[in-house]
């Protein structure tokens, strides 16, 4: 019995080991490609193909009267009309209008991203530094600090919406007491922007903290000994050792956080609403909801293009790191 069991285990094991052995014969390059096969398979069927297909939709006309998603081929007409502002009425708010920065989706999104990501990075870093220490009860403090990330956006929105909803929460009174908010924060663009940013910082600082913490924890502790003996103060240790060594993790966190917040939607929709505070993704979703699938697809691609531009900043920085290392 025992032997047959072992036999079975052995077989399973060798079945698992055989491909591993086979890959050993490959060159580094070949091996890399083999490792990437599952990724490419998943990503191409579940992401690239849908995107291609959506892109195709974006080259067609909206078909509001038909059971089809989209109508005839119109090439880049959707893009042209969107970018020239001819579709603003359909979008609900202008795409880009420097005259009213708080009404146009692009500027609102950029302002939001700049403020939120900056705050989240600073706070997340602070939290990570706290969590990096060892102290009694750290486990629970970690949970406490990280748990906002686990709250679904719908609930996150609900919490803040209810808090500032007159008649239900006391948030507006408190803030007005502090002289910060207008009477109706949830229909006021700047107030809503603040609420959305606060809500977002509350939730996603944890994301930053988690990634940065992981980076911090991976730093070889003996380097701190060296730095201390070399005479580094806490601040200097941070600047010369901690920061450069967590920089890769920090960049990943920043990159993804920026991309995610460029796509902000849910928290806006669940608090002030897209017409109070229009974002790029708001337009994608509202046109989608309205059944203008082609327009929606085009807005999505334009959004992606803008995100790509923003992400470029980080990619350049990444390249720097790679070269430096």
């Amino acid at each position: 019995m025992a032997t047959s069991d072992e036999h079975g285990r052995g077989r399973v094991r060798s079945a698992a080991v055989a491909p591993a052995n086979w890959t050993e014969q490959l060159s580094e390059q070949g091996f890399a490609y083999v490792l990437l096969v599952p990724t490419l398979l998943l990503v191409s069927t579940m992401a690239l193909w849908p995107l291609a297909s959506t892109f195709e939709m974006s080259l067609r006309a909206d078909a509001l009267f038909s059971a089809e998603y989209v109508g005839e081929f119109v090439a880049f007409e959707n893009y042209a009309e969107l970018l020239t502002g001819e579709r603003n009425a359909v979008l609900g708010s202008p795409f880009l209008d420097f005259g009213q920065p708080f009404q146009s989706a692009l500027t609102v999104t950029l302002i939001y991203v700049a403020i939120a990501v900056t705050l989240e990075t600073i706070i997340g870093f602070g939290q990570a530094l706290v969590l990096d220490q060892s102290f009694r009860g750290r486990r629970w403090v970690r949970v406490a600090i990280l748990i906002p990330w686990a709250v679904p956006i719908a609930i996150q929105g609900l919490i803040f919406w209810l808090f500032f909803q007159p008649g239900i929460g006391v948030g507006t009174d408190v803030m007005q007491g502090l002289g910060v908010f207008s009477q109706n924060p949830l229909i006021n663009t700047t107030d809503t922007l603040i609420i959305v940013i606060v809500a977002d910082v509350w939730k996603t600082s944890a994301f930053m903290a988690l990634l940065i913490l992981a980076g911090l924890q991976s730093v070889d502790r003996s380097l701190y000994d060296v730095a201390k003996v070399a005479g580094a103060s806490k601040v200097q240790q941070f600047r010369y050792i901690t920061f450069p060594l967590v920089l890769p993790a920090l960049l990943v966190a920043l990159l993804f956080r920026t991309i995610q917040s460029m796509r902000v939607y849910g928290i806006i929709e669940t608090t002030g609403g897209c017409s109070t505070l229009p974002s790029l993704t708001c337009m994608v979703v509202s046109t989608f909801r309205a059944g203008r699938y082609a327009t929606s697809a085009a807005v999505a691609f334009i959004t992606a293009g803008i995100v790509a531009l923003v992400a470029l900043v980080y990619i350049v920085k990444f390249a720097d790191l790679e070269v430096g290392a």
Binding site: L223, D225, V226, K228, V229, A230, G231, Y240, I241, L245
Partner: protein, 400 residues
Amino acid sequence: MGNVTLEHVTKRYADVTAVDDMNLDIADGEFVTLVGPSGCGKSTTLETMAGLTIPSEGTITIAGEDVTTRPPKDRDIAMVFQNIALFPHMDVHDNMSFGLRLRDFDKAEIDRRVERAAEILQIEALVDRMPDELSGGQRQRVAIGRAIVREPAVFLMDEPLANLDAKLRVHMRTELQRLHKELDTTIIYVTHDQAEAMTMSDRIAVMNEGHLQQIAPPLVCYDQPANLFVAGFIGSPSMNFVEGTVESGEIVTPGFDVAFDPGQVPELAPGDDVTVGVRPEDVYPAEKAGELANPTRPIRARTDVLEPMGDEIFVYLVLRGEDASDSEAATTEAASARGSDELLMSVEPDSDLAGDEDIEVVLDRRKIHVFDTGTGDAVCHDILRSEAMGGGHPGAREET
């Protein structure tokens, strides 16, 4: 300035006491080497001095101030770590200049010092490399460089030359000594290399299992080891030990007897269990007895293995005892009962000894160390007290 004092310093980890009630008083400008077997607490001792580990007990004083809980940066020390620990994200230049940059030295001065250190360390060509592009020895040199550019009051060096080849090591040895003189700093140095310990140190501190065994100038440790442990540890190959008992006027061991004048050596009381120690270089083939002022009686032995080392040959001898009846038995049992009826002898490389040959050897009575077998403490370091020690020897030889 750079004097370092440890008082009753103890460091306990979960299941070991790494350093146990350590008392050290190191003068400013002194060069002290810590030696001891692996795991005896050398690195831990340095770490407590550096402020990287807070001792479980005891106080540490540097330059007269109690620094026991003070952070490392306020101690004016530099350290070379046993595990090297270069900053992986900095090139060699930045690694070496790290401490200076922290202190806002100006660039020219930094470059000057780094260049100078790189030159000493023979790594001028490597200053732009990243640590992972260096060989083991090169990394170690960078680690040394990182410390020496600092010119602190106290240097702590934990096996800084472990990964260097003999030649470079000799070079580094002189350079460190020069540096020591030039900067007049205190250096506390850990090494497992006897030659280093012997040549560089003002004093050697011998540790074992967290305890300080002896701290004394190198030759004192070598010639007058405080106890069995020091005697066995210092010197390579290590001292021969033979257990025996004191009888009146004679120390009796299984392999040989050594006569002494009880009047001259009152420490040896009849009936004591003692261990006789003699270094390999103090064992001579009987034909050289004439060169010695005070040889023992010839001791019958059989050569076993010969280990030629280039500049000397180590000869493993199996003692055949006074009655030498069962020489074969002795040979076969040699391995198992080693240390009591075996002796290591070192001879000149041009010796004509061969393996498995019956010979007679003599010991230099002036170099026979006697230890109390029970406590391990040294009883005496020669059994010929009447003569003056040291200076007398060459003259003695001349006589023959």
